[in-house]
């Protein structure tokens, strides 16, 4: 086979990490190129993190800034935490891609441009008066160009692909060139193409040839003489898969249903960036899961609640605007004390906001977005792979405590990927769940609101069980019997019981543990998807001589039972959030501790250096 000959001539320079960003028009296949590069790097053994970014339109006009799509991947020989603040290498398939991404490239970084696309028309569409490739404006960068389109055309001429479709393979040309440059194993990519399209398919052939042409172009062109290598990371031993946050949620929910011995029921209505959870689970019918694309978000949570009543592990997935609609039904789930997991993949708000961009601004709504006294558990995963475990945990809590649970993911986790050490499923604990089958009351009566002494959960008695016929509903329930009760004291009692049940979950979750040097006086508290950037920022600060501790919260309600103590043991508390200080308000109200907020509301994740800078400023100011 030809592949074996594709290897660079001189020994590559060793790097410990590199951040590469593929950018082009949304029709240019950049997500595909990025994903393939990621997969081959993963197979090679690097640690990695990715950050795909899509245009908001389905198909924005070709060649314009609005149409730029990019995929950033950070690969390293150590355990990395973020997708990289800035790119070391930018692949720019056209002028718009260059313009839109230039500010994300490190000074002195490498720009690899498809020179064929820098014609007058495209330059004008991107708003360039002259070509940046020649007007000296890129002098702060290392610029390499390749006539990718011309070479692609030549390469694929015998593939059987003809006409405009020929140019579709140019992403493989770019991928080949970058693969050569970074000394990637080629088999995973070549194999994938063959498997995906079928070995003899013209498209497969075109892509393979374009890839080889790119690879060889690097090999043979003088300009590209220098190559790099990022060695495999020393990750904990185990089997790894690449996983995005939404995949992790989907799989985690399916795994949770297995662990509980229940069927999964997902009632949902499509909404960016949550839709792919529904799409993934819809494919998993062989796991005995039911997915229901409802007429709206209210029906989505409604069918889920009905399925919960009937004994399924019920889930509803959505994003911010959908949560705004589900509040009333969530309140009913809370009153009927039925288990239900609501996944909110947060996006930038308010209203329609920036639907494809990340934000953490639904925390307050998760905690308070319902009428009446309506406390619920709220959890948030820290990373794509953590989402698997958090999905299981949300389901565990929902079932054990007979309560709706809110899981707050976000648009950054949804699409970002990272290597995930696949757990040993046989050794993951199953959930202990039992439906009521017998009357529990004194006279052989069934008391649907008689609580478990430890958990305060009521029994789950599902329709079809003889002898346990009972009615639930949204009017205040009488303790024990669950009958409608207008008694004032009963209402207060039940309100307190509902609150105490949720508060009591604090005893069933880990204590808060800050990580960092003993001498740290500043504690950074974070939650959700900012974990990686915050941890990296904290580490960098500590390394730079500003010892700092980090506490990441997975549980937002109830909070860990020792959290007050932990907070009290630091002099300064910094809370970076992709909102205007929502967790900060929660912690201030709960513990009366002064906090400093670092807010970012730009539809984009934190960069580690933003965190580091703020830490250094705070420590300098305090001393």
């Amino acid at each position: 086979m030809q592949e074996e000959t594709l290897s660079p001539p001189e020994p590559p320079e060793q790097l410990d990490r590199v951040v590469i960003r593929f950018a082009g028009d949304s029709g240019d296949g950049m997500q595909l190129a990025g994903t393939r590069f990621t997969e081959t790097s993963a197979a090679f053994g690097n640690d990695l993190a990715t950050f795909p970014s899509f245009p908001a339109e389905i198909r924005a006009p070709q060649g314009t800034l609005a149409g730029v799509s990019s995929f950033q991947v950070h690969i390293a020989d150590w355990d990395i935490l973020t997708h990289g603040d800035q790119a070391d290498v930018l692949v720019a398939m056209n002028p718009a891609a260059l313009k839109a991404n230039l500010r994300e490239v490190v000074p002195g970084g490498l720009i690899l441009a498809n020179e064929d696309a820098f014609d007058d028309r495209n330059l004008e569409k991107a708003g360039y008066e002259k070509s940046p490739l020649s007007d000296g404006s890129l002098s702060g960068y290392h610029v390499l160009t390749a006539p990718m389109e011309k070479l692609t055309k030549i390469a694929v001429k015998d593939s059987g692909v003809t006409g405009r479709a020929v140019l579709r393979s140019k992403n493989f040309f770019a991928l080949g060139l970058i693969s050569w440059m970074f000394n990637r194993p080629t088999e995973p990519i070549l194999d994938w193409v063959k498997k995906k399209f079928g070995e003899d398919n013209p498209v497969a052939k075109a892509n393979l040839e374009a890839f080889r042409a790119g690879f060889n172009f690097g090999n043979t062109t003088e300009e590209f003489h220098h190559t790099f290598e990022v060695a495999p990371a020393k990750l904990p031993p185990g089997e790894y898969a690449n996983i995005t946050g939404n995949q992790a949620l989907a799989w985690g929910l399916v795994a949770a249903a297995r662990a509980a011995g229940l069927s999964l029921f997902l009632g949902s209505y499509p909404i960016t960036p949550a839709t792919s959870i529904l799409e993934e689970i819809a494919r998993l019918k062989h796991f005995d899961v039911k997915t229901f694309q409802a007429e709206d978000e209210i029906a989505g949570v409604g069918v889920a609640l009905g399925a919960a009543f009937a004994g399924h592990l019920a889930v509803t997935t959505t994003s911010g605007p959908g949560v705004s609609l589900k509040g009333e039904t969530l309140s009913l789930a809370l009153m009927t004390e039925l288990p239900l997991v609501l996944v909110d993949v947060q996006r930038a708000g308010p209203s329609t906001g920036l639907p494809t961009k990340v934000e953490q601004s639904d925390l307050m709504m998760a905690l308070h977005g319902r009428h009446g006294e309506a406390p619920l558990p709220v959890l948030a995963p820290a990373s794509p792979s953590d989402a698997f475990e958090v999905a299981r945990e949300a389901a565990r809590i929902a079932i054990k405590y007979m309560t709706p649970v809110i899981l707050l993911s976000d648009g950054y986790l949804a699409n970002g990927a990272e290597p995930w050490r696949i757990p040993d499923f046989d050794n993951l604990p199953d959930f202990d769940i039992s439906f009521a089958t017998e009357p529990n009351g004194p006279d052989g009566e069934f008391l649907p609101y008689m609580r478990n002494e430890e958990t305060m959960a009521r029994p789950w008695a599902i329709p079809g069980t003889p002898g346990l016929e009972h009615r639930v509903g949204g009017l205040e329930k009488e303790a024990l019997t669950g009958n409608v009760s207008y008694d004032p004291d009963n209402h207060e009692f039940m309100t307190e019981q509902r609150a105490a049940k949720i508060a009591g979950i604090a005893n069933d979750i880990p204590e808060a543990e800050a990580e960092g040097p003993d001498e740290a006086k500043l504690l950074v508290v974070s939650w959700g998807s900012t974990f990686g950037a915050v941890r990296a920022g904290v580490n960098n600060a500590t390394v730079a001589g500003y010892p700092t501790a980090h506490l990441h919260l997975r549980y937002l309600n109830p909070l860990p039972r020792n959290l007050g103590e932990v907070l009290d043991s630091y002099q300064q508390i910094l809370i970076p959030e992709l909102n205007r200080g929502q967790l900060a308000a929660v912690l201030r109200a709960a513990y009366l501790v002064p906090t400093v907020s670092l807010s970012k509301v730009q539809g984009a994740p934190f960069m580690a250096n933003e965190i580091t800078k703020k830490i250094i400023d705070l420590i300098e100011d305090a001393s």
Partner: protein, 338 residues
Amino acid sequence: MTTTDTRYTRADFQSGQEVRWCPGCGDYTILASVQNFLAELDVDREKHVFVSGIGCASRFPYYMNTYGMHSIHGRAPAIATGVALANPDLTVWVITGDGDGLSIGGNHLIHALRRNVNLKILLFNNQIYGLTKGQYSPTSELGKRTKTSPAGSVDYPFNPVSLALGAEATFVARTIDMDRPHTTEMLRAAYEHRGTAFIEIYQNCNVFNDKAFQLLTGRQERDANRIYLHPGEPIVFGADNEMGITVGLDGAKIVKVADVGMDSIAVHDPAKPNPGVSFLLSRLSHGPTGPTPIGIFRQVQRETYGDLMNAQIEAAKERNANASISELVSQHGTWKVE
């Protein structure tokens, strides 16, 4: 009807909760009809689930000694859909009102109908909001004066049967609270229908909208105004069946049988695949203000949502027996770190 040869009596379906509708409310009659019917039916009590929204009618589940959920306003069809899909062995009844089911809950209702989920939907139409004390509803007649329409309502009402037919319903019927044998007949037909069965029940709210159905329930008036629909029979009515219905290019029409001859009278066929004629019949009256058809307008078989869904799941399970989570998470490739 006697229930001696069944396991159950009406009392078996009465929950301990005190029934709290206004004295004289039509809801009592419907409750009795349903309880008696279920007793006769002789299906395990625990297999019935009553899901309702909010409204006077929606208190119904509390009075049934079965499983039940008194949910929130308008959402019962959605919640019931979840129950029915989760467990196909159950018989899931939806109890709703003209406000609950057609105002706030209209969307869930029409979607349940088109999907043909296996639900039995009983819409208690009293043409008023009872529980909130007397505002007009989406079935109240134009010009109705209520607290929120002191100068008369300007909201043109729905015809629930037409709406259901327009929404692809497979079973659509209408009955009257006071006509208990007919109510029972409709309940049975709905029960036996696989798919979404929709019954509009004219229900008198004697407190806020008394006598709304007088033409159909009054001793004097009812014979002249109840047009019973019997499958396979010509549609005639009147004390001496002297009136009949013809169907033609101008829709369905009321005629004197003597004028046109019995042969011209339409023979009722609710099983027609095309809902067109059922729709024409629904247009004979736009509310109980004159001769009004009572009975089954449409009753056709179409695969239910649940059956289709379960078939897909079973097929997937067969293709993929013993699917494991490990395989699932490995499907896009994995690598080992030693």
